[in-house]
Symmetry: C2
Subunit: 137 residues, 2 copies
Amino acid sequence: MLKIGQLADKFAIKTDTLRFYEKHGLLAPSIRGANGYRLYNDKDEAKLRFILRAKSVGFSLNEIHELLSIELDKSHWVCADVKTLVDNKLLEIQKKLLELTKFEASLQSLSNACCGGPDSAEHCSILEALEDPHVDK
Amino acid sequence: MLKIGQLADKFAIKTDTLRFYEKHGLLAPSIRGANGYRLYNDKDEAKLRFILRAKSVGFSLNEIHELLSIELDKSHWVCADVKTLVDNKLLEIQKKLLELTKFEASLQSLSNACCGGPDSAEHCSILEALEDPHVDK
DNA sequence: ATAAACCTTAGAGTTAGATACAAGGTCAAT
DNA sequence: ATTGACCTTGTATCTAACTCTAAGGTTTAT
């Protein structure tokens, strides 16, 4: 049985974060002490590990909520349900990757075009590229 | 001279966005009509184009603010100043790319491990991977 | 002249995920 | 018995970039 501070320390998070997760329906301690203190057992700890691991692969708290409702009632779900969540997330991540890759390419070409030296910025090719009314998007 | 709605339409943004940019010191119309209406001239329009183009390569509004203060007073800056902004942004984008690439790889391997079929989720390898107390991070 | 479409301001709400603060109760050690 | 570390609740704040609402004034077309 761990108190909130002990569990937080164990997973290198803040007590505030645990209360936040509780308020948002992700993880409530199984019991409270007579003094009202939150007490977390091994199952709670496993659930927290699940949450943090899901976070570490990019799931949002809302998505983790969905994952948890499956996790806690596995027999009513099938593999396809779980895989769909993962694949949707994958698509989302890939979309973001695409956008960032475009940003990267644009920035790189701006950077390459600029001398980066002590010359006045009056003819800086970066600024010119951003100004130019002929190039769009 | 364009009214706020006309300029907004021209660039496919909302009038709210233009007021927002004004409030945040990015773009104020050169003049106001006798009725108090905002009136944007060609220079304002060019500035908006600059802002939107900077946004399209990934700069935040704060960063665009910096870029604009250079753009509007070029002679007091040198290429190195501009290039530094671009290169810092580039590093930031690359850092995000790295994180998302890790997410992608993790999700992909979760997805690959799962049959995705109509079998009960009780032995779903995705859930097992997220549960497993032995694998960390 | 009246309705639709436009404009003004100030200020509140949204999303996500915390993070901080205030006012107070509890516990362990000295 | 008192200090300090811990816990409780509720509420507020933060970032970013809008987005929306309210209450009202203006323009344009019919």
